[in-house]
Amino acid sequence: MNIGGELWTAAVVAFAAIFTNNILLMFFLGMCPFTSVSREVKTAFGLGLAVVFVMTSTSLLNWLAYHHILVPLKLEFFRFIMFIIIIAAFVQFVEMVIDRYSPKLYYGLGIFLPLITVNCAILGASLFMVIRDYTFIVTIGFGFGSGLGWLLAIMAMAGIRQRLAHARIPRGLDGPGITLIIAGLMALAFIGFTGVLS
């Protein structure tokens, strides 16, 4: 196992996951909170941080579960159930820990946690990890990078929408419509990152 090579691959994958393969703007995952919660930069930041944490941790846990339990038993198709259970259990556990040890943090962050369980991006990251056959170290990079990419996208969206709060938008376009157009423009912009790291 070439640690040096793997760390480099992990870094490249992480970089790609943030910019060129952004899990939200290129792969359309994690959009439900994107359109509803992204009005204030502060809220978006909190949600994004929670997503980074949960995505990295659950990607790792799911890697371990997949390669050490499901594959040896030839039950790969059970991964959907296993991943969802692990994600739900992990979020539940984190919620309990935060609630117990830091009510302040719970007040700021804890309300987002149930939202995250059904965030398709979290499950999506784990499923991508399986399809692309990442190693353990690369999965760390991928989970972390994808989370950061999602955070970046949602914060940018919140920032833009805060600016647009007083703009005159046609009635049918208000709300989800304009959010989607912003998302499209952002996706367009992110495509421009292709080729930065060859």
């Binding site: 359309f28 991964r79 739900a88 398709c120 991006a121 991508f128 423009l185």
Partner: protein, 209 residues
Amino acid sequence: MSPNGGTPGTRAIIFDGLWHNNPVFRQILGICSTLAVTNLVLNTLVMCAALTMVLAASSLTVSLLRKFTPRNIRMMVQTLVIAFYVIIVDTSLRGYWPDMSAALGPYVGLIITNCIIMGRCEAFAGTNKPFGALTDGFFNGLGYSLLLLAIAIPRELLGMGSILGFPMPYFSGAWDRWIIMVMPPGAFFTLAVIVWICRAIKPREEKIA
């Protein structure tokens, strides 16, 4: 729910699912899973069929089990039921249509987290009769599919000059293809336009339920 608290009539369910409460442009739910595959009409059709099937079957199952399921684990049971139907669909696709399975990639598995299915099970199937739940699931799925086809058709037509793989008269010839439509931003823009059109036709009314 109808005024007298029972399962609403079938006609009401159908129109609710298809238009009044359409999951995509009214509720803006559950687009994550399918938006990625809307650059080809055929893939969209398969994906929507899969989702409608899972939605209808899950609604039916949850409704059948509603009198036995303890209240505090009902969300877990719902998730389990949905996950199982998705596994069945995914496994079947992989065995009998491997090219399509490869094209749809992880998005079939992501139907599990699709908010529509969970939403309908929670909001409707858990408290209504099986036939009503099945109809509701099916027509919500149909409403979803129609909207997504409305996205996929312009994307494939303008981006690749074909529909369902068949080249279209003007678009596959003189038309200069809009590659942007085949790429992710195209999906966002097309959906935005569709939502705009639908919402302009039917602005949100305050329904006194």
